[in-house]
Amino acid sequence: MARTVLVLVGTKKGAFILESNGARRAWALRGPYCDTWPMNHVVGDPATGRIHAGGGNEWFGPAVWQSDDLGASWRHSSRGLAYAEGETPVKTVWSLAPGPGGTLYAGVEPAGLFRSDDGGESFTHLDGLQQHPSRAEWNPGGAGLILHSLVLDPEDPDGVWVGISAAGVFHSADGGKTWSARNRGTRADYLPEGQNYPEHGQCVHCVVKAPGMRHRLYQQNHCGMYRSDDGGVSWASIEQGLPSSFGFPAAAHPRDPDTLFLVPLNGDTAGRFMPDAKAAVWRTRDGGANWTALRAGLPQQNAYFNVLRQAMATDTLEPAGVYFGTGSGELYVSPDEGETWSRVAEHLPTISSVETLVVEA
């Protein structure tokens, strides 16, 4: 069966879609969509084919946009996407996750979680995060107090992990009513000596779920790369062998729980661009014990770009495609699990997010 691969790109000035066939060699770009609003996360629901785009406009506030025709037409809603009267208003949507049965979760700034039971037409606030005992101590990261990582447990409809900068990772086993911090073993280098492993307050940058192993997660943190094999209860460093401990995105393989892709940057106080200005995606095939730099086709001089926290993804094909977008508006594609790369778009606005959707042609 012929398949169409869509790369869903969220940028500072609208959403874009790149489209190819299963070979993933030739790509066509279309957009900008969503009236050029800043779009922090654009995702596809493989069960329905619906595309959701979450973001916010400085004038008009937060909204989730929907397309049922692969981007040809869009509508938007923010019905219910608001905190209680008198609270600091929701500024923008940062993360989206389609769940079973037409549910859609939305993470927002300032950090909070909403759920839609009608595919994004209306939302209900899950206020458990606001009730967490540590809530008053959460401090914003560089991009604000944002709920950017939203990971649904495919084997537990009530299980969800979130990553909040800079509050850390939290898990709910009851669909968002109550939460527990899941940060043991992750460092906070910016705290005083002796206080570097707090219960919460870590600057998590990205959390992803490994496929096929229920309790395995990976995390790119401001301070290191980590793996958890117990659903985030404890984390072990996997940064040895990488050029730095700093980066933003992480992308899991669609089938192999031991394969992970990262984009280490040169350091949080060193410019936050590619180490030595030479671009590389780093891949492990053994859960983080060993790392390989993947550079074929990526610029090896003057690469002063970054890759933001939601701007790398894989697809579901065999071999898996890997995709990342840069702060300088370039999109790179590998159709062979990172072995070779090509630049398929340039001069886009700053890329905030990259996701994929594979549909039957």
């Binding site: 008009f60 938007h76 996407l81």
Partner: protein, 98 residues
């Protein structure tokens, strides 16, 4: 003596909406007349006509969004600003961007 439309309680106010707001709504119009006693009621009227428009202009404090300006007869208004019949209302987006 004919009634003065400016003093009639049923006289509408005239509202000008920014084009980049209107294009977010099917059948939106940049010039609309509504009956409202204050800006809050004006927002309610816009919401009734184009569901979702109030959320684009107001937040949950509740207040007019930070980068939206509402002018009533030339003066910057808040949600509780009264509207006299026949008032001219401009809803504008602030300078913002990059």
């Amino acid at each position: 003596m004919p009634a003065d439309p400016q003093s009639s309680p049923r006289a509408p106010v005239r509202v000008r909406l920014p084009a980049h707001l209107v294009r977010l709504f099917p059948d939106g119009e940049t010039l609309v007349e509504v009956v409202a006693g204050d800006v809050r009621q004006l927002m309610d009227a816009l919401e009734a006509r184009w569901p979702g428009m109030r959320d684009r202009l107001c937040d949950e404090r509740p207040a007019i969004r930070r980068h939206i300006n509402v002018f009533v007869n030339g003066r910057r208004a808040r949600l509780d600003t009264p509207l006299v019949p026949g008032a001219d209302v401009f809803i504008l987006t602030a300078i913002s961007g990059g």
